[in-house]
């Protein structure tokens, strides 16, 4: 049995040590907002926060998490920066197909919390691990700047 804390709830899991957190979230706990895009830490669709740090859930064996705290897209709106990013995402109509956007929002939330006034270079650094096949990058950049200005 492995115990992990996700979105302020404790879960007892009967899974193998090597199971990536991604599949625990999606298949065991039904938290399907975190997406599978590549499985090899290339696309960022599976981004979650571990103690606030954006992390690729597809490459994270569940047994390595220990008592660190996981936040997923389903609960990121409970944080000040998460709610802010979600709001500017909608205002700027960033989202197209949406499949990458859980990961984009998780990455942007972490950026905004660490750096309330990111430059374009800061945005590139923080967001370039997240692929958007629909090409929403122009608006992602605008939305992050807007979130910073009005924070």
């Amino acid at each position: 049995m492995i115990t992990i804390r996700i979105n302020n709830e404790s879960h007892q899991l009967d899974v193998t040590d090597d199971m990536p957190l991604l599949w625990v979230l999606r298949d065991i706990l039904g938290l399907t907002g975190t997406k599978y895009g590549c499985g090899v830490a290339q696309c960022g669709a599976c981004t979650i926060h571990i103690d606030g740090i954006p992390t690729r859930a597809c490459q994270l064996p569940v047994s390595l998490i220990g008592d660190r705290h996981i936040t997923t897209i389903e609960a990121i709106g409970n944080t000040r920066e998460g709610a802010r990013i979600q709001a500017v995402w909608l205002q700027n109509q960033v989202i197209q197909c949406g499949y990458c956007q859980s990961g984009q929002i998780m990455a942007a939330t972490a950026l905004l919390r660490d750096n309330p006034n990111p430059t374009d270079d800061d945005i590139d650094d923080a967001m370039s691990g997240n692929i958007c096949r629909c090409g929403t990058y122009v608006r992602i950049r605008e939305a992050i700047h807007q979130a910073a200005n009005n924070a």
């Binding site: 199971m19 907002g33 090899v40 290339q42 696309c43 389903e74 995402w89 096949r133 090409g135």
Partner: protein, 723 residues
């Protein structure tokens, strides 16, 4: 994604509208309304005036979406069309995906229930406003009869009927039962565009809030009680067979419950995806290599090159092009090459099915629900009406989900399982088992007259005919018109022109539509060649184009607008260059100017793009901008980075490390300038942005470096050149 067999139908239908209806005024129609089956009296008192609207007694207003939402914003655009005439607010409606039902949801211009060809808004523009208006007229009639007043004294607004003289109101829910008993109107007068409340505005999209908080359910996210999850792997070489696998090792993986095979496919089923992934690795399937093991990019290229020496089917022939070319003092003869491409939508292929002896449920995201249902029927022997297709929002389409073969494959596997199962492809499977955008090998020759204008133009394309597989009845005397779309009708005045098309199918690969289809292919060739000729004529690429746009005033307008907004002609830092491309695709005019910087080590930086667009009447301006921005990045990604190659029958690429996607740090600033001609026919938009990307980029790189790139992808072409 446009089906050639439909082009005639689309054009005929539009010609009919042009001839009989004026956009500027109210539209009067009599007789049959396309797409509007009669009202269905429902015992429960639900008002279902047609296939697209359902209003229940409690006031719930449901709009049924026959087009798939894959990011293009079509759910919102279509809801705006219906709600405009139904006189409801977008906040009042709930959206529902249409089932597979050709009798109710066939797109009459396309000839089937399909989302593609940048046609959804165009094909809904009239019929879905009519659907909303018909329902509104019936609601008004119901209220008028309840109050015993003339219908003309009643008005509809915000989901209510108001009796204007007295101010009395009834909600649509209150009227549902009686409205269902009203006659479906034969004459429908649509609103004058000057009174539109919604069309032409940019409301909050209706599909995006759930996509911002993890609650949207894509096909990949479907969870059904008792469901197992399976990973599929097909033979890495087409028509190879599964010869062995390690069942013991696979079943030793915790959570593995089943191994299911077909002749050329294996699926390992588990309690969760991880068991399925690990189980398939442990199964270590072995394949015989089948008949295509010797295929490689080189053999495919040799086939294409050889085929391109043949005279092709003639798509256009005005004048004696060889004589005209021979008379030109200045001419260019060139070969352009465009690679095989994967779609690489971020949501990999997946299908969830529950197949029972007497029926089936299928949860999937598809652009072709009726084809999907037929695939399942063929696989299971069930009658189609016993198969329910539950369509979902799609994590990127780009043409991939116009094919339903993966759903048939899933059904052939799932029918061997008594329980519901989600069957998915890994990213690697999604890239390697894709159906690819064809490789095109284009020979083109063009010459100039003494005034430096084009005197003769000869263009022969060689490649796969997607239509021959996807809609063979759409071939026109054997010609796949998609292969010459954007090549036959250029924006320019060209006195002597010949277009030919040679079919050459790639051994061991299947081809499919890909965002921008024919125009993405041909506009690269045409607009690159225009640039080459401008330089040959020692003319400015903008002025060269302007001098030959006599029959394309809307083309001239977008070209001038893009040039003006981009600062065309103003000085740039050294190493920078601007490229321009103009095209008419999907009934939309667009011009793009792209500025690039090429550094001393041949790195390419995309600085900025300006696109001017005239797509006729604009339903949802912000979605138009978003589609141009995203479409351009999609095309630039391909132009810079992407090609699918083959070695020993197997696709070489497998994931985003070797099939590279543009990232935010590589994307340019993109500005979209709308210059719509409101009196024109409505144009498509979802694929328009992609079309101009490669030629604008090639022309910009030429402007910056003097290197002409005639082969995609550019990055590997740039390597080895010195700036």
């Amino acid at each position: 994604m446009r089906k050639p067999r439909d082009i005639g139908a689309i054009l005929n239908r539009r010609a009919f509208f042009r001839g009989t209806l004026a956009f500027g005024g109210g539209m009067l129609l009599s007789g049959m309304i396309p797409g509007l089956p009669g009202a269905q009296a429902d015992t429960k008192g639900v008002f279902i005036p047609n296939a697209f609207i359902r209003i229940d007694r409690s006031g719930g207003i449901t709009l049924i979406m026959r087009h798939a939402e894959m990011g293009q914003g079509i759910y919102t655009g279509i809801a705006m069309l219906i709600a405009e005439e139904l006189e409801v607010d977008l906040e009042q409606v709930t959206l529902e995906a249409a089932p597979a039902d050709p009798s109710r949801y066939t797109d009459s211009a396309a000839g089937e229930e399909v989302t593609g060809g940048s046609a959804s808004t165009r094909d809904s523009w009239l019929p879905l406003r009519q659907a909303g208006a018909a329902a509104r007229i019936m609601l008004v009639a119901a209220a008028a009869s309840r109050w015993n007043v003339p219908p003309e004294s009643c008005a509809a607004q915000h989901g209510q009927i108001i009796h204007v003289p007295t101010g009395r109101t009834l909600s649509y829910g209150d009227l549902a039962e009686e409205a269902a008993l009203q006659k479906v109107p034969e004459k429908i007068i649509l609103k004058d565009p000057s009174t539109f409340r919604l069309i032409g505005t940019s409301p909050q999209r209706l599909d995006t809030k759930p996509k911002s908080n993890g609650t949207a359910i894509f096909g990949m996210d479907v969870r059904v009680p008792g469901m197992k999850i399976g990973r599929i792997m097909a033979s890495p070489i087409q028509r190879g067979r599964l010869i062995s696998y390690d069942s013991v090792a696979a079943r030793a993986i915790p959570g593995v419950v089943d191994i299911i095979t077909l002749q050329d496919v294996i699926a390992v089923i588990g309690d969760h995806s991880w068991a399925a992934i690990k189980g398939l690795e442990a199964a270590n399937p072995q394949w015989d290599s089948g008949p295509h093991a010797a295929v490689s990019t080189k053999t495919l290229m040799d086939d294409l090159r050889r085929a391109s020496d043949r005279t092709g089917l003639v798509a256009k022939n005005t004048g004696d092009v060889d004589a005209a070319l021979a008379a030109c003092s200045h001419r260019i003869d060139a070969v352009y090459e465009l690679p095989f491409l994967a779609h690489a939508a971020l949501e990999p292929i997946n299908t969830t099915l529950h197949i029972r002896p007497n029926g089936a449920d299928v949860w999937v995201g598809t652009q072709v629900p009726v084809r999907a249902r037929q695939e399942v029927a063929n696989a299971t022997g069930l009658p189609p009406e016993k198969i329910a297709i539950h369509n979902h929002v799609i994590g990127g389409g780009f043409g991939r989900r116009l094919d339903s073969g993966s759903i048939g494959q899933a059904a052939r596997l799932a029918k061997q399982m008594p329980y519901p199962v989600k069957l998915f492809w890994t990213r690697e499977e999604d890239i390697q088992q894709d159906q690819f955008r064809p490789f095109y090998y284009d020979r083109i020759s063009a010459g100039l007259n003494k005034q430096g204008r084009i005197a003769a133009w000869k263009h022969r394309t060689t490649g796969s005919y997607v239509t021959a597989r996807w809609a063979p009845e759409g071939l026109q005397n054997g010609l796949d018109t998609d292969t010459v779309d954007g090549a036959v009708e250029t924006p320019y005045d060209i006195p002597v022109q010949r277009n030919e098309s040679v079919q050459c199918e790639p051994e061991g690969l299947t081809t499919l539509w890909w965002r921008g289809v024919g125009p993405t292919h041909n506009v690269f060739v045409v607009e690159s060649m225009m640039d080459e000729l401008a330089h040959l004529a020692e003319n400015d690429p903008l002025d060269f184009r302007r001098s030959m746009l006599g029959h394309s005033p809307r083309g001239l307008k977008v070209l001038n607008e893009a040039a003006r907004k981009s600062g065309w002609g103003t000085p740039l830092p050294s190493g920078h260059g601007r490229g321009i491309a103009l095209h008419y695709s999907f009934q939309t005019w667009a011009a793009t100017v792209l500025e690039v910087q090429v550094t001393d080590d041949n790195a390419i930086r995309l600085v900025r793009a300006d696109t001017a667009v005239d797509c006729g009447p604009v339903v949802f301006p912000d979605a138009v901008r978003a589609q141009i921005q995203g479409g351009l990045i999609f095309g630039l990604t391909m132009a810079l980075y992407n090609e699918i190659t083959v070695t020993n029958g197997r696709v070489d690429q497998s994931n985003f490390h070797d099939y590279r996607m543009m990232r935010i740090n590589e994307a340019p600033d993109i500005r979209v300038h709308l210059v719509p001609d409101l009196s024109a026919d409505i144009g498509g938009i979802g694929e328009v942005g992609t079309v101009a990307a490669a030629p604008a980029l090639a022309n910009a790189i030429f402007a910056a470096t003097g290197h002409r790139l005639r082969k995609i992808p550019f990055l590997s072409q740039m390597a080895g050149k010195s700036a």
